[in-house]
């Protein structure tokens, strides 16, 4: 187990280097002038441009720019944004907020999704099963900005049950509750359906029948054997989803004005703020790798046949 983890961590290094290089090359290849939008609706003066380009090494060729970046990265320096603040400071402010939001969304989708999947899987074809099937179908087919805006308008503005937007830099559980529910609503449908299908399939399998015929209670056969086996794809999905929510919650963050990572990357791309894009995406790559490792370790717990020795 220990050697497995060490090996996986060492494997991360080339992945991070490769990923940052790809991102760097893509940002580099973006058309347009990095200073073009910085002076309002008019071109920036030559002097301003020269000072800006000098500061961010924008006139160096790609390999040299990348080399300088990696050297700084190894020292733990993620660079400086185009508005002159360290990228690391921006991430320090935003990651806790996004992390909290993503954790709440994932907790919601895991709890509700797995519960709904198990209940419907066990009583396939019943009223609850049909109800969940229809309601998840509705959720999957509505775009997230509709759900978000409607929830904000009715639950926030009209009925005043939830705060309309996030107003502090360190949002409370209550402030993030509605955004987290909106954010998790799409995934909860997938988790419920994935859970249900897997459980239904596993309940029909030989080992469950054998276990029951050996005299195991239904509760134990389902709970211990079938459920654990069915969880593997669900855990994979949830792990992947957590990573996706960290960087991909742009729409929800915009609606509820949450100072998160997704909106930050989105705006950085728009204003050609290369350092911010590369810095924050590098961070996301690392999060993905760690979450993947955790998911792989979880497999071993869920299914002893998958061993990491």
């Amino acid at each position: 187990m220990g050697t497995y983890i060490v090996r996986r961590i060492l494997q991360m290094i080339p992945v991070i280097l490769g990923a940052t290089f790809l991102i760097f090359a893509m940002v580099f290849a973006l058309p347009g002038d990095p200073v073009a939008g910085k002076c309002g609706e008019r071109p920036c003066s030559a002097a301003y441009r020269a000072a800006f380009i000098e500061k961010y090494n924008l006139d160096d060729p790609l390999p040299i720019q990348y080399g300088k970046y990696v050297v700084n990265l190894a020292k733990g320096d993620l660079g400086t944004t185009a508005s002159d603040t360290p990228v690391a400071d921006q991430l320090k402010l935003r990651v806790p907020v996004t992390g909290k939001l993503a954790l709440m969304a994932v907790a919601f989708e895991a709890l509700v999704g797995i519960l709904a999947g198990v209940l419907t899987g066990i009583r396939k074809g019943g009223f609850l099963d049909n109800l969940v099937l229809v309601s998840t179908l509705v959720l999957i087919s509505i775009p997230i900005f509709v759900i978000g805006n409607v929830a904000q308008l009715y639950l926030g503005v009209k009925f005043g049950l939830f705060p309309v937007t996030v107003t502090s830099s360190n949002p409370t559980f209550y402030e993030l509750l509605l955004p987290a529910l909106v954010l998790g609503s799409l995934s909860v449908a997938y988790v419920a359906r994935l859970m249900r299908t897997n459980l239904v399939e596993n309940l029909r399998s030989d080992y469950v029948r054998t276990a029951i015929s050996k005299g195991l209670t239904k509760r134990r056969a389902y709970g211990l054997h079938a459920l654990r086996n069915s969880l593997i794809p669900v855990v994979t999905f949830i792990g992947f989803d957590f990573g996706a929510l960290l960087g991909g919650a742009v729409v929800t963050e915009g609606i509820f004005n949450i100072p998160g990572v997704g909106g930050y990357i989105f705006r950085a791309i728009r204003v050609r703020d290369g350092a911010s894009v590369v810095g924050s995406v590098t961070f996301l790559v690392i999060v993905y790798l760690v979450v993947n490792l955790l998911v792989d370790l979880l497999y071993g717990l869920l299914d002893p046949r998958i061993s990491h020795d």
Binding site: C39, A47, V157
Partner: protein, 552 residues
């Protein structure tokens, strides 16, 4: 009246304002939108957006940072919130006899937020810093009229014009001289009649000595001289201002604390205003403009005002695209655009059809300068096009930056042109503003493209010289007309304001003949506010007038 000194001082007016301020109410003008009054003190929150640069007046040209800079820096003159007329603020008087040598006397006793007194050298040092090219200040070009500006620029070519031989020859403007602590003089290279009006632009703010010892720290926490001082700038979240206790100027505010809450979406800010989580939003989202929905959501708590913004459609330079060279073709296209219908259907009447190239909010505006060429008339348009021998290219193109809401109106404009002229017209999106501006700047963009102009200072000159003068910085269509340039030079030399304005108007009239750009519409700003505040007024710049806002 040759020979008499012209002064921008509106002495009587300042005195009245001063008296009024003494009584605890800064209202000197009439009511524009809601009942004035309200109590003094308390705190408000307003919608903000993310400043793109450190908060240094000479390095801020976009509105997000500009709104904050305006509140925390005093200038020599202050623009009246209602009329945009310049009124003396830090200046006691600005005198000139020839429009080239200006003597500026400062009011004594005005202070920076760090307690030091504002003296003549604070202006001279700040302007030298802005103009000196190696400092890379984005507003440095505002110093251009001052004598010696050329020597502060880098002359090299290539990536770094300041390297080697290209280094700037001097770091001080020869046209600026400190006479004593409260007097300095400006000498301009050419005659500039509206220089006193320009001095209210934020790039001309004085900077305290503390700036020059550490510009970087200053950009994070600027030390200004305005009615409000900056307490904290929480990057990408909020900017907190509080009342400056030692402020002795005439334009102080009523509330004690103003917090700019940074929003990325105007919808979120608007919803917060409805739910009373935010006091003022200076932007109403499109969704709420449809059928004037905002008037139902915020009854009696909204206002709309024309601002110094104009949207135009510029033709690519003739050497880039010869198909539009004939002014008759340009005029025909302009007459083929049904501005009224587009404004009604696409903009929900939040624009005003343009009848010229100058915004109505500025001094010197003359209506109907574009005349029939800006009036929708498909029959005449078609006749004019035929007279010019028809359109030679295969289709007309109208390019826009696709990262902002320009798709709808450009397509509607193209449809209007297509129907009126019978020539195919296509609205072409360019991925984003950066790419769009680069293509225009490198003269690679063909056909027509959208251009906008937001005034820096309220003068007719600001809508003509920077955009249409030969070789001007924002002359995207490379327009050049010697007669136009001559009129601008004459106007700048005129010591009589009415005469100067009339010369500028004559120059503007030439644009109707050559049609280097089609005037589309003037901008309007719509604001909404919560039921906690009163006295919200919109300035001619489309910003909130912080001197009149108060809690109920």
């Amino acid at each position: 009246m040759r020979g008499t000194a012209r002064t921008v001082a509106v002495a009587a007016m300042s005195a009245v304002a001063l008296l009024a301020a003494g009584c605890g109410s800064g209202d000197s003008g009439g009511d524009q939108s809601s009942a004035a009054g309200g109590k003094t003190g308390g705190e408000i929150t307003v919608r903000g957006c993310n400043p793109q640069n450190p908060l240094v007046p000479s390095n801020t040209t976009e509105t997000c940072g500009g709104n904050v800079i305006d509140a925390i820096f005093s200038k020599l003159v202050h623009y009246n919130a209602e009329t945009a007329k310049p009124e003396n603020d830090l200046a006691e008087s600005i005198d000139t006899t020839d429009n080239q040598n200006f003597t500026i006397k400062l009011k004594q006793g005005r202070k920076f937020h760090d307690g030091t007194e504002i003296k003549a050298k604070n202006f001279v040092d700040a302007w030298n810093y802005a103009a000196y090219a190696p400092n890379g200040q984005s507003s440095g070009y505002f110093m251009e009229p001052i004598e010696g500006y050329g020597d502060l620029q880098c002359t090299g070519t290539g990536d770094d014009p300041c390297a080697g031989d290209g280094k700037a020859k001097a770091d001080k403007l020869t046209g600026l001289k400190v006479v004593d602590d409260y007097t300095f003089t400006i000498k301009t290279t050419e005659k500039v009649s509206n220089l006193p009006v320009r001095l209210g632009y934020s790039a001309f703010s004085p900077l305290p000595d503390a700036f020059f010892s550490d510009p970087k720290a200053f950009g994070d926490k600027p030390i200004g001289s305005g009615p409000y001082k900056l307490d904290a700038w929480n990057k990408e979240q909020s900017i907190v201002l509080s009342k400056f206790a030692d402020y002795t100027g005439d334009f102080g505010g009523k509330v004690d604390k103003i917090t700019f809450k940074i929003y990325t979406e105007s919808d979120a800010a608007y919803n917060d205003v409805i739910a009373s989580n935010l006091d003022i939003t200076d932007e109403i989202p499109t969704s709420a403009l449809i059928d004037d929905k905002y008037k139902q959501d915020l009854p009696d708590r909204n206002a709309q005002k024309e601002t110094g913004v104009i949207q135009t459609v510029t033709f690519a330079p003739t050497k880039v695209d010869p198909n539009y060279a004939d002014p008759k073709i340009r005029q025909a296209i302009s007459m083929a655009i049904d501005r009224d219908t587009i404004i009604k259907q696409i903009f929900n009447n939040t624009r005003v059809p343009a009848t010229g190239w100058v915004s109505p909010v500025v001094d010197g505006y003359k209506a109907d300068q574009c005349g029939e060429y800006c009036t929708y008339d498909p029959t005449k348009a078609k006749a004019l096009l035929q007279e010019a021998g028809g359109f030679k290219g295969d289709k007309i193109t109208l390019s826009y930056n696709a990262d902002a809401a320009h798709k709808d109106w450009t397509e509607a404009t193209c449809n209007s042109i297509k129907q009126a002229l019978g020539v195919d017209c296509v609205a072409t999106g360019v991925v984003d503003f950066a790419t769009f501006r680069t293509q225009i700047a490198e003269r690679k963009m063909k056909g027509m493209f959208r251009t906008g102009w937001q005034m820096d200072y309220p003068s007719i000159e600001n809508f003509l010289a920077p955009i249409f003068k030969t070789g001007a910085s924002s002359n995207d269509g490379d327009y050049s007309n010697p007669e136009f340039d001559k009129l601008l030079t004459q106007a700048a030399a005129s010591t009589d304001e009415a005469e100067a304005n009339s010369l500028y108007q004559q120059a503007e009239a030439l644009l109707a003949q050559d049609m280097p750009a089609i005037p589309m519409w003037y901008g309007k700003t719509t604001m909404g506010w919560s039921d906690k505040v009163t006295g919200v007024k919109i300035t001619a710049f489309g910003t909130i007038d912080f001197s009149s806002v108060a809690l109920k």
